[in-house]
């Protein structure tokens, strides 16, 4: 039951990611994205991929790298701005896009991992989001029925992971990663630090190892900042 692999290349090979796969990718903006897995998918030249990811990266980073190479056929996201190549492909009809409200996206992914085939949410009632969907009243309020969102594979990024697949995220890099880890039929976790089993306090585990099939310590993290906002440096 060894989950540890050498690198992202071995992970996507052993996971069996193939052309046409539906892949969930963790991250919000460029924060907490599985950089190594994205690079390996680019290198492997996989095509016709569907990505479920809150955003689509920027032109030259994140999932934008796979847009450059035309490896993505469809995106399921809540917000896809900040990416000129995305816009070009979308307007040219080369890229299919399904927009989902962020909370509904998060909950649909959570539902998939949690064995809930459908649930009701007030979000989007009376908007285009509800078009073609069942709506229903509970206690005097209208709700939209939303379905679980499944994926063949999930690629997630954590700060620390152990060899049993337990993951700990850091700050807002957590975001969509925990639900995606649970929702992927096969889940690959890349971590900044891979530690031996027993090194993580069991009360601090964010993603229990049961959800993780393959794990490796990633390399050369760039962790690019999308909007660098700051105050003048502290006076010494």
């Amino acid at each position: 039951m060894n989950k540890v692999v050498r690198d992202a290349g071995e992970a996507i090979r052993r996971a069996g990611i193939r052309d046409g796969a539906v892949i969930m990718a963790g991250g919000f903006g460029l924060c907490g994205i599985p950089e190594n897995c994205i690079a390996a998918i680019r290198e492997a030249g996989l095509r016709e991929l569907t990505f479920i990811s809150n955003n689509a990266g920027v032109d030259d980073f994140g999932l934008g790298l796979l847009l450059q190479t035309r490896q993505i056929r469809k995106m399921v996201s809540s917000y896809v701005g900040e990416n000129a190549e995305f816009e070009r492909q979308f307007l040219a009809g080369e890229l299919e896009v399904e927009l989902v409200p962020q909370g509904t996206l998060a909950e649909r992914i959570r539902a998939a991992g949690a064995g809930i085939p459908a649930f009701y949410t007030p979000t989007g009632y009376g908007t285009v989001v509800a078009e073609g969907k069942e709506t229903r009243e509970f206690d005097g309020r209208m709700y939209v029925m939303e379905r679980a969102l499944h994926a063949d594979f999930a690629i997630v990024k954590a700060h620390v992971g152990d060899e049993a697949g337990n993951l700990v995220y850091r700050k807002t890099a957590r975001n969509f990663n925990p639900m995606m880890a649970a929702a992927g039929k096969v889940t690959i976790a890349e971590v900044e630090k891979l530690v031996p089993v027993g090194a993580i306090d069991p009360d601090h585990v964010h993603t229990p190892g049961i959800y993780v099939d393959f794990i490796f310590e990633g390399r050369n993290y760039e962790k690019r900042i999308e909007q660098r906002t700051n105050r003048p440096a502290r006076s010494a």
């Binding site: 927009l99 962020q102 007030p122 009376g126 807002t172 975001n175 999308e226 906002t229 105050r231």
Partner: protein, 219 residues
Amino acid sequence: MKSASSRERIVLRAARELKDGYYVNLGIGMPTQVANHVPEGVQIILQSENGMLGIGPFPYEGEEDPDLINAGKQTITELPGSSYFSSAESFAMIRGGHIDLTIMGGMEVSETGDLANWMIPGKMVKGMGGGMDLVASAKRVVIIMTHCNKKGEPKVLRECRLPLTGVRCVDRLITEHAVFDFDDGRMILRELAPETSLDDLRAITEARFEVADDLREMV
């Protein structure tokens, strides 16, 4: 009134919506600036829908942390008492009605409190992000926007023309000219800017509204 000072007036007025102990989510853009004007003696806790409670100020130059951003993807800091959580938990918090107040920008607001603010006409649709969830479920939804668009056309309408973000979801609308409340489909003028007459306001407002008995001057 110039646009710059309009926006400042809107932001300052919106800051008065902040009450002590409130958990608040501020939208991207003008709403974010409201955090710079928290009234004296009021302590609020800011939620960021990407998974954080307790947003602190921007980091000092050189101390930016790529793992610590807000929903606008800007680098931020944490505060004592902050907490991090997943996007599912974050929107459980929002959808479950735990956010006392959200202040968000608007493109159009209708007289029944419908809101449109996610599709810019003539531009590519970038997505609704977390906006639809916030307006559907925050305990109080305050929309801030300039009263008219750049061409001087009304944005406070009988019915929204743009695709909706939410139906009957707005509790209060603040513009540089007025403050309106929405109550079960009725629109009520609560405050009017000192240099704006009621006739002026009606001229730039397509929506039909009632005037509160205790109409006050907007400060």
